[in-house]
């Protein structure tokens, strides 16, 4: 601004004759002609159709079973027991039985699911200290204010890990047993490792490190979260790669769900031994649950889910159906447009001045 250089001569102030300044830049000005729009619609319809069919076929090869154990089987006893806060320290276990009619082929994933548990509340989600979880020593002893009121225990010790998310960690544990048709009973081996995001396990969560100190020593001077039964360094004292902040269950829990009904990965079927080499054989199963997590306060439900996966995840009928419906609608629109074009706009009749 203001520094227009003036060339001498009668045309000194003449603006440059550049395509940009004269707004004559070469440009592509597309137009919605029937030649481009109608084929586009048909192609879209076909693509959606193909995708939908493909996805549908894929989904149909998956299997899934959901078992709600909130008050199923012997668990109603535990449910009643958990209603009383004074029993919080007492352990309670129960068993739920279910049947798999058709064998689950391939990898089988074991999830626990919660209903009506709002991990997506703003204050809940904020109530954590990623600095502490990544192992920053300053944050360990001095948790972020976002953790309030779960940053200090009643005695004033800093809580590790602090915050509402960690405090409310799901602490039921499961053991799955197979009751084969031949009376064979076998514990279903579950891999409890590798159930987190790679980035979470390796970047987002680290145990604080102080030279030569063991984990319990590092955590000395911190308190366990209020609702926890054990401190964080006692998840798996024998496995340093799965203890403390880098415990897989903790990491899984800390990845908050977007919606109040969610499932989280608990374990993956270990297919090294028979009879689980090809997945879960058909038959009866029982889950023995160490029933700790109270859901009755918030009228929630909890359950377990067993499922096999395809390339795009678990059993998910919505996606293929949505594609098929969309395809149908696009096709419908395309036909309507074609008819309209044929009747009214063909040959650019309306385009004549």
């Amino acid at each position: 601004m203001g520094k227009a250089k003036v060339k001498p001569g009668p045309l000194g102030r003449r603006p440059d004759n550049s395509a940009f300044k004269q707004q004559r830049l070469p440009a592509w000005s597309p137009m919605l002609t029937a030649n481009s729009v109608l084929p586009f619609f048909y192609v879209m319809a076909v693509i959606c159709m193909v995708l939908g069919v493909w996805l549908l076929l894929t989904v149909q090869s998956t299997q899934e079973i959901k078992v709600d154990y909130t008050d199923a089987g012997t668990c109603n006893v535990c449910l009643e027991m958990r209603k009383n806060v004074s029993n919080a320290a007492k352990s309670c276990s129960c068993t739920v039985r279910f049947e798999i009619q058709k064998a689950f082929k391939g990898d089988v994933f074991f999830y626990y699911g919660l209903r009506n548990f709002h991990q997506n509340l703003r204050r809940y989600m904020d109530s954590r200290d990623d600095g502490q979880l990544v192992g920053k020593k300053a944050n360990l002893k001095n948790p972020s204010s976002y953790c309030e009121p779960f940053s200090k225990d009643p005695s004033g010790l800093p809580v590790a890990p602090c915050g509402a998310v960690a405090n409310s960690m799901f602490n039921d544990s499961f053991s799955l047993t197979y009751h084969g048709s031949s009376g064979l009973t076998a514990a279903v081996p579950l891999l409890r490792r590798g159930i987190t995001w790679y980035t979470d396990k390796n970047i987002k969560f680290h145990n604080p490190k102080i030279d030569n100190l063991t984990l319990p020593q590092v955590f000395e001077g911190t308190a366990k979260p209020l609702y926890w039964q054990r401190p964080v360094y006692q998840f798996e004292p024998l496995d340093p790669n799965n203890n403390g902040f880098i415990n897989d269950d903790l990491i899984v829990w800390m990845r908050e769900a977007a919606f109040p009904n969610f499932k989280k990965l608990y374990g993956i079927l270990n297919r090294t031994n028979k009879p689980f080499k090809n997945g879960l054989p058909a038959g009866n199963y029982s889950v023995e649950i160490s029933y700790n997590f109270p859901v009755q306060y918030f009228q929630g439900r909890k359950g377990v889910v067993l499922t096999t996966l395809t390339w795009f995840g678990g059993q998910n009928y919505f996606l293929p159906i949505a594609y098929l419906v969309t395809s149908g609608l696009i096709l419908l629109v395309a036909v309507v447009l074609t008819v309209v074009w044929w009747k009214f706009g063909k040959n650019g009749n309306n385009m004549q001045e």
């Binding site: 203001g2 707004q23 440009a27 204050r123 977007a258 990965l265 998910n316 919505f318 309209v340």
Partner: protein, 1400 residues
């Protein structure tokens, strides 16, 4: 926002106030202090005394900031804007932890960006203001300090200083003129910078000070001025000078105001009265009101609505929150207890409301305002850069002076245009003539080779080199010596009121007060009849190389009624002849009937010329015998002296002598239209823009121009002329026009409108009654205008011509509506004789009644008011002053650029802005409403859907550039097409592209998109897992998937909206997408998380999410669902109801396909045709519209005969003296010795005191009495020198006046003139209270002619012989003017001494 361009130095003083418009700034404070000032006392040459009052110094400061105050003041100003305060408020909300649903930086980043961009702009502007201030403040002026002239900077000039000004210098402060190098303390100024008037004005010093002459006297001057405090009235000043125990009244006539330029005056001295911010120039600045476009207003309304909508959403969600907290949240408390201040769900809901206000604030994004400004700025630059709006002749490019109005250019419905200088070039060229029945100047073959321009120089060295004429038959005729041809040009060289200035031998400069006179005299000059110089009593010409001096016996001046002017001259041989030129209508009646044949032929020629749109004059002469002349001159003198009905008597006397004339021929002058005016008007009216011409010109001239620029055509059904003088007659004329229109249109429509018929009949009958001027109330009721809808439907082409006085009535409150409905039914409206104020009133009228966008275009100071009051003001630059340009929003050099400005730039701007706004609201609703849906799933806890960085960057990075590129570069059809199809302009006028309906459609589309964007991922992802079995239903995955889908959907949408994919659009669209992914991956990267783990929770999300096929399937599905309906609807619209622009585009495509190799030199070709177009279009076979087209003002004859306006520069005088040692000087000398009664001025007679010119009509004394200025009267004259004359004061002067010399017979009616002579060394002078000549008679056209100049005489023996040849003329000039029937308050009257020329 003013686009600063290089400002020519000369424009400086006026540029400043322009820039000041927005702020009251620093000097506002000063003027506040001065407001307490009740009167101002200034003592000359006494700084100590003046310092007591602490008057403002001459240092001006238009800048707002300095280095220290910049930040606080600028921020303060910026936060006065509602939008900025709103965001500041949001920011404060975000700092409350309980409410803060978003980090503070989501608001502060955009806010800081906006603030800093604005601050940088303000700083740049202010820097230039500083620079210009410095430049002005550091200008040099000569200040008289302790008796010597010293150079001082302007800013160091103090009140009370005496300043010397030289010719062509700017006046540096408001000065009291003390003395000047010119006689009588006269000095000439040009006030173009102040009020835009280019004509020169005279200022005169108080008589006592004008003698102070040289610096030594001035240094001892210790007069004290007491005057009014600073004010902004340019034409008023009131004060008193106290000096030597006497008081002298001061008026505006004594003042030189800052911003004026001294002209034709060697030097003058002035006393600084007001300095710096107190000057009238500065006091006048800062009143420009800020214009807003209709889109702006709509946008503000919509933003308010959106704000309301935001509050509604907030309330809904807060209620939801209350319910949820009550039902669910309270149970969930063991996991998430309420925060300490929250003790119940209601309070939680209250907090949640504010939290949601923060989250949802992006529906009114801060970037909206910034983007709009940026787009407008871009459009303004395109206007500035447009080569096709560059005028090569005057080297001026178009300039968008305001950058906030561009899209309004696409919605103009009414154009109000000035005529002179806007439609016409105000250049008159002598085009054709008819001499003795033979027509010359016809270019025979218009298609043949360009006829050669005649070269006059070999034949006549004095010819005007710039004069163009093509017909050499005329030159031949002159050379051959045809007596009538000679007589024809002799007439042209004698019968006029032009003044000449001869700088050096042969270099003549004519100063004509009307350009047509100049053209005629120039023509005569080129054909060998060179008008060289004039004195009050003689005219000297060079005829065919031979110098001839004619004695000017009388000028029978022009006036509106006479429509002609004559001169009576005596040639050297002693023959007396009357030369007359005038309108054919009046002149042809006064011819000798004998040459009827010639009259018929000439009349045919006149018709021909008129049909060509030329201005015609008929020329005639009459030989007078000595007796006739004697007799007439006697009767004329009687008439002139008559005290009652002087005008009528004079007119009768003129009438008497202008009889039995012999026709010489006729001239045709072309009032050159600007290039391309008719074409432009045609195109604009095709674009449904109504053009009104508002001109100060006379009706005939205006109508003539109306025809030549094709506003009026011969195939128009009817042209109504409203010229009534009374309310009744105007009303009646308007009604008649309406009735006629209705009748005609009913006739056309086959009388299908029964209602109209009834209405018309009704009007008709009552109109009859009302016609008897007694209708009163009844008539008022009956003449209520028919509903405009009815008037709108009138078919047929009508035009309306309204006269100034009728317009005054038509603009009265009760007739407004009637006038508007009549005028708006016409295709063309011409208002003539319009005052500047009325121009503005007309504009306001349309604004008020029509709710239409108006554009005013003009070039002069008289257009400023209308330019300011119209929605858009356009100034024609490079012609008459710069006042109009400074007041305007856009300026360019030629009227024809208007079509490009409106049809191309305006249309594009409107289109782009509309598309931009539609898209902008869409994208923000699509973005924000997702939060709303999410609220129902997250317990209304004000959790955002997206990462907060995404929220921060969405509007300023991810989606800003593509839409900006569209807003700046988009074109639906190329510029050439929009000029070819003016109808394309209509959507803008009807406001079709962006209105409330469009807005709701955009909003609906946005909400639809947000629904899709939320629910599709929600449903799909809640069940989906990664291939490793890890569920995808976690919050971060959902956030990333939704955000990605959103960015892709809005990008696809902008791609659909963009109609013109330039390289920038590609870069920005793809670049935005690319930047989204890049930035997302960067923000979710390990390194950032490593540094700020608590700020970047989303580490790894982008990688984990975007690698999942199911996420992409989700995004694809969402995109398809969002886009397909839009595409279908657009296609259907295009197919079923194509807009004209679509059609044009389609044909364009088809054409392109047909012939691929299309040239690209579109612009050049168009430009070529534009410049090749003839300025004038012949309209053969039209009705006869011979107009007496004198753009003439009466009263000039008097000035000439009085010699008052004669600037006898030393050179001219010298040459004059050497060449003719003739009678004039001798008479002067003789008069000096023996003063004679001015009433006996016969040449050679015994009264030598008066030059022979005194028998001309204008010389005789005025008859008006006027109140004598008290001050002047009290100023008694001690002792008149014997040879000096003290004019007798008028009887009512009421002052003790010295006995006037008896010979002052003519001084009897001298009225107000109180002339005083000073004895001793003070040269004789006349106390003058001059009503300014130009105010009363030159400037105000409509005033009736009533003026007189009374000769007086005086002589100054004391001074004689001091240096150089002295000459004295004795003239008492008084110029009177009557407005209507009220005698003007006569302030004028006086006499002044003959020039004392200083030969250098």
């Amino acid at each position: 926002m003013t686009v600063l361009k290089e400002i020519p130095e000369k424009w400086f003083p006026i540029i400043l106030p322009q820039q000041r418009k927005k702020h009251k700034g620093l000097d506002g404070g000063k003027s506040k202090k001065n407001r307490a000032e009740e009167e101002r006392r200034v003592r000359a040459n006494d700084r100590e005394y003046n310092e007591k009052f602490q008057y403002a110094s001459n240092c001006i400061m238009t800048s707002k900031y300095n280095v220290i105050t910049f930040l606080p003041v600028n921020l303060f100003e910026q936060f006065q804007e509602v939008a900025n305060t709103y965001f500041l408020f949001l920011l404060i909300l975000q700092l409350i932890p309980q409410i803060s649903s978003l980090s503070w930086f989501t608001t502060i980043v955009p806010l800081a960006l906006v603030l800093s961009i604005t601050a940088v702009k303000d700083a740049t502007d202010d820097y230039f203001r500083h620079k210009s201030d410095n430049q002005v403040n550091n200008r040099q002026s000569q200040v008289l300090i302790r008796g010597s002239l010293q150079h001082e900077k302007w800013m160091n000039v103090r009140v009370g200083d005496i300043i010397k000004l030289e010719n062509n210098q700017f006046v540096s402060a408001d000065l009291l003129l003390l003395s000047s190098s010119e006689p009588h303390g006269l000095c000439y100024i040009e006030t173009a910078e102040l009020d835009g008037e280019t004509n020169m004005k005279v200022r005169q010093s108080v008589s006592v000070t004008c003698e102070l002459g040289d610096p030594n006297n001035l240094a001892s001057f210790d007069g004290e001025v007491v005057c009014e405090p600073p004010n902004n009235k340019l034409d008023r000043f009131c004060g008193t000078l106290h000096w030597r125990g006497r008081r002298y009244g001061l008026t505006n006539q004594n003042m030189l105001l800052r911003g004026c330029v001294l002209r034709n005056t060697e030097a003058c001295y002035g006393l600084v009265i007001f300095a710096g911010p107190d000057t009238k120039l500065m006091q006048n600045s800062g009143r420009t009101k800020f214009k807003r476009t209709s889109i702006d207003r709509l946008m503000n309304t919509l933003v308010l609505w959106i704000f309301g909508f935001l509050v509604c959403m907030g309330v809904i969600l807060a209620v939801g929150n209350a319910v949820w907290e009550g039902e669910v949240g309270s149970l969930f408390q063991s996991y998430l207890p309420w925060e300490p201040p929250v003790d119940n769900f209601l309070f939680s809901a209250f907090l949640s409301f504010w939290s949601y206000v923060i989250i949802l604030n992006t529906v009114v994004p801060i970037s909206l305002y910034v983007s709009v400004e940026v787009i407008r700025l871009g459009h303004s630059y395109f206007i500035n850069w447009d080569q096709q709006m560059f005028c090569a002749q005057c080297n001026t490019a178009a300039e968008a002076r305001t950058t906030t109005l561009n899209e309004e250019l696409g919605q103009v419905e009414y154009i109000f245009s000035d005529k002179t200088g806007t439609l016409t070039q105000n250049i008159m060229t002598f085009n054709k003539c008819s001499i003795n029945g033979k027509t010359y100047g016809e270019v025979t073959e218009p298609l043949g080779p360009q006829p050669k321009r005649l070269d006059f120089t070999p034949f006549n060295p004095l010819a005007d080199p710039s004069f163009c004429f093509y017909d050499d038959a005329l030159l031949e005729s002159v050379k051959v010596g045809e007596s009538l041809t000679h007589e024809f040009f002799r007439l042209l060289s004698l019968c006029h009121t032009v003044m000449s200035e001869e700088k050096s031998e042969g270099e003549l400069l004519y100063k004509a007060q009307s350009p047509d006179e100049g053209a005629l005299v120039t023509a005569a000059r080129s054909f060998g009849f060179v008008f060289r110089s004039r004195t009050p009593g003689t005219i000297t010409t060079t005829e065919m190389g031979r110098p001839v001096t004619y004695t000017l016996l009388a000028i029978l001046d022009f006036n509106n009624i006479r429509k002609r002017m004559s001169v009576i001259v005596r040639n050297p041989e002693g023959r007396i002849r009357l030369y007359c030129k005038g309108a054919d209508t009046v002149l042809l009646e006064r011819l000798q009937p004998c040459n009827q044949e010639l009259i018929n032929i000439t009349s045919d020629h006149l018709n021909e010329y008129a049909a060509d749109g030329l201005r015609t004059l008929a020329l005639a002469y009459r030989d007078l015998s000595e007796d006739q002349w004697e007799a007439w001159s006697e009767s004329h003198r009687c008439a002139d002296k008559a005290t009652d009905c002087r005008e009528d008597r004079l007119a009768a006397a003129y009438e008497h002598i202008e009889q039995d004339m012999m026709l010489l021929g006729a001239t045709a002058i072309e009032d050159k239209l600007q290039e391309g005016v008719p074409e432009t008007i045609a195109v604009l009216s095709l674009a449904n823009i109504k053009i009104w011409v508002l001109t100060g010109d006379k009706q005939e001239t205006a109508v003539n121009i109306g025809y030549s620029c094709k506003m009026l055509t011969d195939d128009m059904t009817e042209v109504f002329i409203i010229s009534g003088h009374t309310v009744q007659s105007v009303r009646q004329e308007l009604r008649r026009a309406r009735e006629r229109m209705i009748a005609v249109s009913r006739g056309r429509d086959g009388g299908k409108e029964g209602w109209g018929e009834a209405r018309c009949a009704d009007n008709g009958c009552k109109g009859g009654q009302g016609g008897d001027a007694g209708g009163g109330e009844k008539q008022l009721q009956c003449s209520a205008p028919p509903p405009s809808s009815f008037m709108d439907s009138i078919s047929g082409e009508f035009a309306l011509v309204v006269n100034g006085h009728s317009l005054a009535h038509a603009l009265e409150a009760d007739m407004e509506a009637e006038f508007v409905s009549t005028a708006c039914a016409c295709k063309a409206v011409i208002c003539c004789r319009v005052t500047p104020l009325q121009k503005a009133q007309v504009v306001e009228l349309i604004k008020k009644h029509r709710n239409a966008v108006t554009l005013a275009i003009g070039d002069g100071a008289n257009d400023v008011s209308m330019i300011k009051s119209a929605h858009i003001g356009v100034g024609i630059s490079g012609q008459e002053g710069i006042q109009a340009v400074l007041a305007s929003d856009y300026s360019f050099a030629q009227f024809r650029f208007l079509q490009r400005l409106l049809l191309v730039h305006g249309r594009w701007s409107y289109l782009r802005m509309c598309r931009f706004l539609c898209y902008f609201f869409y994208k923000n609703f699509a973005f924000t409403m997702v939060h709303f849906w999410f609220g129902f799933f997250c317990g209304f806890s004000a959790q955002t859907v997206y990462d907060q960085y995404f929220i921060t960057l969405y509007n300023i990075v991810f989606t800003s550039l593509p839409v900006l590129a569209m807003g700046i570069f988009d074109q639906d059809v190329p510029d050439r097409r929009s000029l070819e199809y003016p109808k394309l302009y209509e959507p803008g006028q009807l406001n079709l592209l962006f209105n409330k309906r469009q807005f709701f459609i955009c909003i609906a589309q946005g909400i639809y998109t947000s629904v899709v964007l939320f629910f599709v991922p929600c449903i799909i992802l809640s069940d989906a897992t990664q291939s490793t079995g890890v569920p995808l239903a976690d919050y971060q995955t959902f956030a990333v998937a939704t955000a990605t889908a959103l960015v892709i959907v809005v990008s696809v949408q902008i791609a659909l909206d963009t109609g013109f994919w330039t390289v920038f659009n590609h870069v920005f669209v793809w670049g935005s997408l690319g930047s989204y992914f890049t930035i997302m991956f960067a923000l979710h990267s390990q390194s950032l998380f490593g540094i700020f783990p608590n700020q970047f929770h989303f580490v790894g999300s982008a990688q984990s999410t975007l690698l999942q096929p199911v996420v992409w399937l989700t995004i694809a599905l969402a995109t398809a669902i969002c886009v397909v309906p839009v595409l279908a609807v657009r296609f259907l619209k295009l197919d079923l109801k194509p807009q004209l622009s679509d059609t044009v585009r389609h044909t364009q495509l088809v054409r392109q396909k047909k012939r691929k190799p299309a040239g690209c030199g579109v612009g050049g070709a168009w430009r070529g045709t534009g410049s090749a177009s003839e300025g004038r279009l012949g309209a053969r076979g039209g009705s006869r519209r011979s107009g007496y087209a004198f753009a003439h003002q009466e009263g000039f004859g008097e000035l000439i005969t009085s010699g008052k306006n004669m600037r006898l520069s030393s050179l001219a005088l010298a040459t004059f003296a050497s060449r003719h040692s003739s009678s004039w000087i001798d008479t002067l000398r003789r008069k000096k010795q023996g003063p004679g009664p001015p009433s006996a001025p016969e040449e050679g007679g015994p009264a030598p005191s008066v030059p022979p010119l005194s028998n001309s009509s204008s010389v005789l004394g005025g008859s008006q009495d006027a109140p004598l200025e008290e001050e002047a009267a009290r100023n008694t004259q001690p002792d008149p020198a014997p040879s000096q004359i003290a004019p007798a004061p008028a009887s009512d002067s009421g002052g003790a006046a010295p006995a006037g010399s008896a010979q002052e017979a003519g001084a009897g009616p001298l009225g107000a003139a109180t002339a005083r002579c000073h004895g001793g060394d003070a040269p004789g002078g006349w106390m003058l209270t001059l009503g300014s000549v130009q105010v009363s008679c030159l400037y105000m056209e409509p005033c009736d002619r009533s003026s007189a100049l009374t000769p007086a005489s005086s002589s100054l023996p004391q001074e004689e012989g001091r240096r150089g040849p002295h000459r004295r003329g004795h003239r008492v000039g008084r110029t009177l003017c009557r407005h209507g029937n009220h005698p003007a308050k006569l302030k004028a009257g006086g006499s002044y001494q003959a020039d004392t020329t200083h030969t250098k």
